[in-house]
């Protein structure tokens, strides 16, 4: 009893899940898609996209009204 996760815990967990997700996305882009050896605009562009969309999703996630 009483061991359920509070809203704050769920929020931290959600943020952690989103960050880990985009770390994986970055890995797929740099290693599998081989953007690590691609021209700078592609290599950096992909990582900037991943960082920006990750931040947008975290903000939208935190914006939920419980």
């Amino acid at each position: 009893m009483g061991q359920g996760l509070g809203i704050a815990d769920l929020r931290y967990a959600g943020i952690a899940i989103l960050i880990v997700t985009f770390v994986k996305v970055r890995f797929v882009m740099l290693e599998f898609m081989e953007l690590r050896s691609a021209p700078a605009f592609m290599r950096l562009g992909a990582q900037v996209w991943a960082a920006v969309i990750c931040v947008i999703l975290i903000v939208l996630f935190l914006n939920a009204s419980h």
């Binding site: 797929v28 081989e34 996630f61």
Partner: protein, 196 residues
């Protein structure tokens, strides 16, 4: 005109994998799916209770299995491209076939999952959460089917062996698309199945 100036060496050493056109398609897909991801979380934010209650009925195990299948599949494709560069005539088509097998398994799991939902009376019209669930995973599934077509062609195409620069470019084009399919699933899995 005979030799390029030394200053351009570094940039000319950089390599765009595959045909340039595939990257325009990948870019377009990323923009569209970024919009999908944002729309989903925006509307979740306006009705968290409904979204969380609906998510509780998703089969997380099946979602996790599919994530594993997608990652393995992507790894096989990356390995196939590496093998082709080393002119490994047997390993290359084998890796594409393994990747295809993972893709087929992903499809089977997805169909089982849809069937489970439909049997329980859950459809596109049930609520907003399931509308997004079916539309987003459905559009992704369409990508999986196209990708499986590409992988089949590559598995057959590489059976002849002997890989030159142009054939490796073809492989990279197909591989890049398949990695995109993997990447999109990683985010869909987190949004639809995991975050509460």
């Amino acid at each position: 005109m005979s030799s390029p100036p030394a200053a351009t060496f570094r940039e000319s050493n950089a390599h765009i994998p595959g045909e340039e056109g595939i990257w325009i398609l990948i870019f377009g897909d990323l923009v569209v799916f970024s919009l999908f991801f944002s729309i989903f979380l925006y509307y979740r934010g306006r009705n968290v209770e409904l979204f969380d209650a609906s998510q509780a009925h998703l089969n997380q195990e099946l979602g996790a299995i599919n994530t594993l299948l997608m990652l393995s599949s992507s790894w096989f494709v990356a390995t196939a491209v590496q093998a082709a560069r080393k002119n490994l005539a047997r390993l290359t088509p084998l890796c594409f076939m393994m990747a295809l097998a993972c893709g087929v398994a992903f499809g089977v799991v997805k169909v089982l999952e849809y069937a489970e939902k439909i049997r329980a009376g859950i459809t596109l019209n049930t609520n907003d959460f399931y509308m997004y669930y079916f539309v987003f995973t459905g559009i992704h599934f369409l990508h999986v089917l196209i990708g499986m077509g590409v992988l089949s062609v590559l598995a057959v195409y590489t059976r002849a062996g002997r890989f030159d620069a142009s054939s490796i470019r073809h492989l990279e084009t197909g591989a890049s698309f398949w990695h995109l399919v993997d990447l999109l699933w990683i985010v869909l899995f987190a949004l639809l199945y995991l975050i509460k």
